[in-house]
Each structure stands twice: as C-alpha cells, then as structure tokens.
Amino acid sequence: MLFRVDPASSVPLGDQIAACVRGALADGSAAPGERLPAARELADSLGVNVHTVLRGYQRLREEGLIELRRGRGALIVPGATAPDRARLVSRLREAAAEARELGLSDEEFVELARTSLG
C-alpha cells in the first residue's frame, strides 16, 4: 500500500495517512484482512512522529475500517464490504467539508444527516 503525505499541506498528517488507507481500500490496492505496517515502521518510513501515525490509525478504527489488535498490529477489517465502507466514509468526509465551507455548524450538519436518514 502506498502512503504519501505532504507536510506542507494544511491537512493534519494523521488524517493524510488515514486517507491513504481509505483510498487504497477503495481502489483495491489494499485488500480486506491485509495487515498495515507497524506504526513505528511507517513513522520511520515517512519521517513523521509515531503518535501522528497512531492518530491516523485510531481514526480508521473509529470509522470501522481497521482493527487494532494487541501484538498483531493494525489489520484492515476482513469482509467483502470493507471497500464500500471506505468509499462511504470518504464521501461522508467530503460532505462534512462541504458543509463547513457553506458555513454550517457541526450541529446543523449532524441534524441534516439525521434528516436524510428520514
């Protein structure tokens, strides 16, 4: 899996790392059940802090895209639906960013999302 981050970008590095995994899962270059590199290794590869990588992994876990197992590292959730889930999360994040640009508050956005569940 290819990780590319831009330290000059305004997007936090942890989010950029999470986006790499999401993108790889969505376009099929990472498969469900695949093991991600250990946080320490990835941090060394990219020349970033271990905690930055861990923040990215933590975000992916909250999104239900990876499992963090003690001693076994980070694992993309097994199951055929993982790529679709990754695409869904990406679209949600795009929608949230768009809402902020439109000047919506976070509460308003959540309310909007709840209404669309209708």
């Binding site: 899996m1 990780f3 590319r4 330290p7 270059s29 991600l36 590199p37 590869s45 990219l46 020349g47």
Partner: protein, 317 residues
C-alpha cells in the same frame, strides 16, 4: 549484466574433476591393501581409534557424491575473484579423502588410527597449494565488465510533489512454505526421540529447515527514503536492505521460481538474489554492478515506480 563465462565455470569445475580422479585412482591402486570395510569415523577420545566403518561401494559412492555436490555448487555460483575458493575447497576435500584412504592402509587385525592434526595439516597444505593454482589461473578469465551506472534509474515513475513524502509497504506470504516449515519443526523433536544416536542428528535438519522457512513464510516489503527493505514478518532480524544510492533501476515483472531461482525461499544465484515465495509478480531491482534483487510481492508496479522516483530524487540531493 555480469555472467560467469563458460571458461570460468570450467575452471571452477576442473579442481573437483582432478580431486575425484586422484582419489579414485589411489583407491583403485590400493584396492588390494584396503579392508572390505573402510574406517570412516574416528573417536576423538581414545587416541583416534576408528569407531565407524563403511563398505567399499558405499564409500566410493558417498565420496564421489560429496565431490560432485561441491563441484556443482561452485560451478553454479562461482565469480571470477572467488575462483581460488573452488580450488581450495577441492584441495581440502581431496586431501582429507586421500588421508582417509592412507589411514586405512594397515594390516587386517590392526586398529585403524587417525591423527586429526596430521590429517588436517595434509588437507590444509593441499588446500593452500590448490588455492595458489586457482589464483594463478584467474588471469585466464577476462575481467568482469565494469558496472555501467546510467545517470538516472530507468523504469516506471510515480508523480510526487516537491514537498511530498511517500512510502510503500506490503506484507506477502506463502501458505505452502508456512505449512512445510511447521511440519519440519514438528518433525524435529519426533526424530530426536525415535531414532538412536547419531541418526537422531537428522532431527536437527528439521530445525535447520523449519526456522528459516517459518521466518520467510511471511515477509514485509518496504520501499521508502531508506531504499528497499525486506524483512521477516515473524522475526525482526535478519533483513535485506538495498539503500537508494545502490539502486540502478527497478521494475515489476513476472519471475519463475524454479527456472530463474531454482526453488523457493531466500535464493542466491550467480547474478541474482531473491526472496521468492511464489512464481509471478515481483519487484526486481538492478543494483550498481549489475546484480539483480527480486522479491515476489503483489502491486510491485507501484513499488517499482516509487523506488525509481525516490532513487532519482536521492541522486539530485
């Protein structure tokens, strides 16, 4: 790319042919004086008395197979500057075998005795003499072509922004190798318990196959600012690393485990090294000096593109 010329291979095989010929000739010449059972193993404790015997036919077979095996290995892997090593190996092996025959030249009811120091001294002298001959013969082989370092690595590229940092990491494995290694490991204690000494030593073979097998059954391949790194998914060491400034180019292509590498696992051939877990897609790196390093891994195209890009960027700094 460097290739061992037929001449170099012939010169590497020659000392083994000589050793085999001398050994068999002496065996034939001393035929009437040699016992039906040759003493082939000596105890270290009791003044070097013989404690292991082999029949004549068996002895000829085993010694010939030993020389042939060494010859095959040296012929396959020889490099110009290591030619003397082939000669030294042949000299040492030949010397030991001839000493073994000489120690057997005793009257029927005497005990065969070996003096390890004398045997080793004779074999060592033979090895040194042979090594000198081999070293002298090296001049008959033309120099290997000097390494051609092209300005920039060739192969695919990845568009990377000026401030962007990138790394690629992938774990890959072989289920067949995992199963085989586990079986070998499981067999080791069984053999140790069931067979009597010293046959039980074969049990160690299980460990010798099982431990490296298991270490290689799952590997992680990383391409980043340090270069290409392949390490075991089980143990943190050993690992193989090719730094960016030794990389002349990277490519993704299909490799054939048996035809190109003669098997699976960590393979060393005359001009290429590889971590080969299956036939198929592999990341192939050309090093300065023309040697290739291959590792079978999915999505090798991306890895090769990133490696070329990083190597090029590294060269500019």
């Amino acid at each position: 790319m460097n290739r061992a010329t037929p001449r170099l291979r012939a010169l590497a095989a020659l000392p083994f042919v000589l050793a085999l010929a001398v050994h068999l000739l002496l065996f034939a010449r001393w035929r009437d004086e040699l016992p039906a059972e040759l003493a082939t193993h000596y105890s270290l404790g009791d003044g070097g008395e013989a404690d292991g015997w082999t029949g004549r036919a068996g002895y000829v077979l085993i010694s010939t197979a030993l020389i042939a095996g060494l010859a095959a290995a040296w012929t396959a892997l020889v490099r110009r500057r290591a030619l003397w090593g082939a000669w030294a190996t042949a000299g040492f092996t030949g010397g030991l075998l001839v000493q073994l025959l000489r120690n057997n030249l005793v009257d029927e009811f005497e005990v065969q005795v070996s003096e390890p120091a004398v045997d080793l001294a004779v074999a060592g002298t033979a090895a040194v003499a042979a090594a000198l001959a081999g070293w002298a013969l090296t001049s008959l082989v033309p120099e290997e072509e000097p390494a051609v370092r092209s300005g920039a690595p060739d192969g695919p590229r990845l568009a990377l922004g000026a401030s962007e940092v990138a790394g690629w990491s992938r774990s890959t494995g072989s289920r067949a190798l995992t199963v085989l290694a586990a079986l070998a490991l499981a067999a080791a204690p069984v053999v140790l318990l069931v067979l009597s000494w010293p046959d039980a030593l074969f049990g160690l073979l299980g460990l010798v196959i099982g431990v490296p097998g298991l270490a290689l059954a799952r590997v992680r391949v990383t391409v980043d600012r340090h270069g290409l790194t392949v390490r075991s998914g089980v143990f943190p060491k050993p690992r193989v690393r090719i730094p960016l400034d030794e990389i002349a180019g990277a490519d993704a292509r299909d490799v054939h485990a048996l035809a190109e590498f003669g098997g699976w696992g960590y393979r060393v051939r005359a001009h290429r090294t590889g971590v080969v877990l299956r036939s198929g897609e592999a990341l192939v790196v050309r090093r300065d000096g023309g040697r290739e390093f291959a590792v079978t891994v999915p999505d090798a195209e991306t890895a090769a593109a990133l490696l070329n890009t990083l190597a090029e960027r590294h060269g500019k700094v």
